[in-house]
Each structure stands twice: as C-alpha cells, then as structure tokens.
Amino acid sequence: MTPFLALLTRDLRLSVREGGGAVLALGFFALVATLVPLGVGPDLNLLAKMGGGILWVGAALAALLSLDRLFQADYEDGSLDLIALSPLSLEGAAFAKIAAHWLSTGLPLTLLSPILSVFFGLSGSAVIALTMSLAIGTPAVSAVGAIGASLTLSLRRGGLILPLIVLPLLVPAVMFGAGMVLEAQTGLTNGAVGFLAAFSLAASLLSPFVAAQGVRLNLAG
C-alpha cells in the first residue's frame, strides 16, 4: 500500500471510530432539513423554491463541522510531525486528507439529500439536479475547508474561526449548486453546472498546495 493510501484509509477509519465524521454531519444536515420546513410552514410552493438553497447551505455547514479537526488532531498529538517527515509530501498528505474528508462527509451528505428533499417537495428533476450538484460541489467544500483547517490548526478555538475563513470562499459553490436546482425547476438554462464543476475542480487541485503551505507555517511556528 502506498503512503498516500495508508493515510487516506487511516483517516477514514478514524472518522468512523472517533465520531465527528459522517454520523455527526448527517445528523446535522437532517436536522436543518427538518427544522426549516417546520419553521416556514406548509407552503409547498415556497418550500420548493427555497429547497435547493437551504439544502446546499445545510450541506456546506454540515461538512464544515468536522473540518477544524482535519489537521488539528494530528498536530496536537504529534502525528503531523511524523507525516511531514514521511516519504509523502505535505501536498500529497493534504490531498489524502481532503479525499478522506469528502468520502466520510461529502459523499454521505450527497446520498442523503434525495431523501431530505422530500421535506421541500422538490420535483423529480429538481431532486436529480440537487444530488448531482452536491456530488460535483461537495469536493470543493472539503478542499477549500482544508485551507481554513491548515491555517487554524494551532488555534485552540480554531473551530470558531474556520467558518469565517471558509464560508466566504464557498459562495460560488452554494450559488451555482442551488443554481443547478433552479435550472431544473424553471427550465431556464443558466450554465450553473459548468461553473460549479470548474470551481470544484480548481479548488480540489489547488487547495492541497495552499493547505500544505499553511501546515508548514504552523509546524515552523
């Protein structure tokens, strides 16, 4: 097994065993998707209009919940030093951690979203668009989140600052993600899927380099 896969599978295992991963994010996502329709009331037209945006914001926030520990846990117990000295470059390590985070949160959130979209009375084509948009866009949430996680890894209350750094950077993902749902509902072409895919691809490819630099700075500090 390569060092990359070793780190990826280890992070996946940790997310299952030490909690804070998939289960927490799914629970949070499900609660948001349940509470909003209860608060708004039984206006199916209004709910359907809001559904795409609310579910996207809910998914992004849910994925952020476990992001602050992405590097911090390893920093605190000394594992990050050993990872930095391993044959795997810090860029490779950051990519492995992003992939593990997406597999343990982004992917389960995507798979849960069709069920939760029932609460918003989304049409069949809108549900498909929502699921597609989350599948395309959630890697960007994990990737951009990793940048924030690398910058805040040495802060004791980093979890509070992380969303302030990351959420503004996620505006394109939420906008184009909800835009894909809107396109399916209105039938008006808006090209959101292209922009979302481009943003997600760029974020996934570039953020490991930025995150690695953030980790370097913190290890040297």
Binding site: S79, D81, A84, L85
Partner: protein, 208 residues
C-alpha cells in the same frame, strides 16, 4: 547510507528569541550525540531544526551521503527517524494497527510483530492505545522509530516515562543503531549509556 551530519554556525530562533547562536558540530555515522541543557535551552527546537521542521535563523545543516550533500530542509526530513515529545497515538487504534499505519506511511511493511516483540509489547498487540500506560506508549513510539528504518535518529527525551528495563532497552537500541552505521542525536538529561559526545546548550548562547 549517511556518512556524516554537519551543522555550521546554526542559530535557533523561536519567534524573536534566539535560543542558540553560532552552533557548529559534526556527527559521523556510528556516533551518538547527546544534547544537554536546562529546560527551555532550545533542545527540542534544535532537533526540529535538524529534522527540517523548523527553519534555521542562520547557518546550515548538511547530510553527507557519498558525494551528495543534502541540506534542503524537506529533503533532509526524509532521512530522519523521529521520536518526538508526543507519542502520536490515536486512542481508538490498536497497537498493531497504529504501528502498521506508520510502517505503510513510511513505505515499509511486514515485520510489525517482530518489532513489537523487540520493544516488549507483543501481548498488547490487539489492545486499543487508550489503555496503554505512559511507558507502554513510549515503547510503541520506539517500535515506530525502528519501523521507519531511517539512518538519522532524532530523539527528544527518549527515556521519559520508561521503567529501568525500558531505559536499558533504549540504550541498547541506540547502541545497535550506531553499530549499524546510524547516527543518533538525543536531547536528554540522562546518559545515553555509551561513550558519546555531549553538547551542552546554555540558556542563550552555546557553551561547549
């Protein structure tokens, strides 16, 4: 195989504080250097600098391997076997899982059981790390150091938390590593148990 490590005119800095200035030394293959000094003298920072984790304020650290010289920090790190202050263990992993992960991360595989036997943890192999005592955690960290098979050992307080048998084990492993042509630099308050050179770090400046 690394022939020697030379540090030239090193300055160890934490923030704006200079912990060590103008430090030069050489460690040859088969030698162990013990770093001594009061708490806060900069032993750990110096080890992190040699490992390439902390940038040098001034000066350089160079590894000599045949005719090639390795002085770029991240490249240097790939030769380092690290036994840090923290044990780097995950509470929910068993002893053998933990060791297997690090072996794979370092591109080594296979002899985890033998390594656990070497550090006296064979019976705890299937025990989650959360049940290990401080000394047992240290022993697992030692097994990981062996698993990395790196030529340059950087040890931060290798004797901490260990019982008498454990301390003897550390001394034996260091002697063994030096015998195989490895290099050891250890920050410690105790004797490494073999004829080694000692470098004393004063509070602000170096005193040899």
């Amino acid at each position: 195989m690394i022939q020697s490590l030379t540090a030239e005119k090193l300055t160890v800095q934490r923030g704006s504080r200079r912990l060590v200035e103008n430090l030069s030394f050489t460690v040859k293959a088969g030698q162990a250097l013990s770093l001594e000094g009061a708490n806060g003298a900069g032993k750990t920072s110096l080890l992190r600098l040699i490992a390439g984790l902390l940038p040098a304020g001034a000066g350089s650290v160079t590894l000599h391997e045949g005719d090639t010289e390795i002085s770029e920090p991240e490249e240097r790190g790939k030769y380092v076997g690290w036994l840090g202050h923290h044990d780097a263990l995950k509470a929910s992993f068993t002893v053998s899982e933990q060791l297997a992960f690090f072996s794979k991360l370092y591109g080594r595989e296979g002899d985890e059981i033998a390594l656990l036997g070497q550090v006296g943890l064979s019976r705890q192999a299937e025990l989650p790390c959360r049940y290990l005592s401080a000394g047992q955690r240290r022993r697992l960290a030692l097994a990981r150091l062996l698993a990395s098979r790196r030529p340059l050992w950087l040890l931060d307080e290798p004797f901490a938390a260990l019982d008498t048998v454990g301390k003897a084990l550390v001394a034996r492993l260091i002697a063994l590593h030096c015998g195989e042509g490895g290099l050891v630099i250890a920050a410690t308050h105790e004797s490494l148990g073999l004829s080694n050179e000692t470098l004393r770090l004063g509070n602000a400046v170096l005193k040899l």
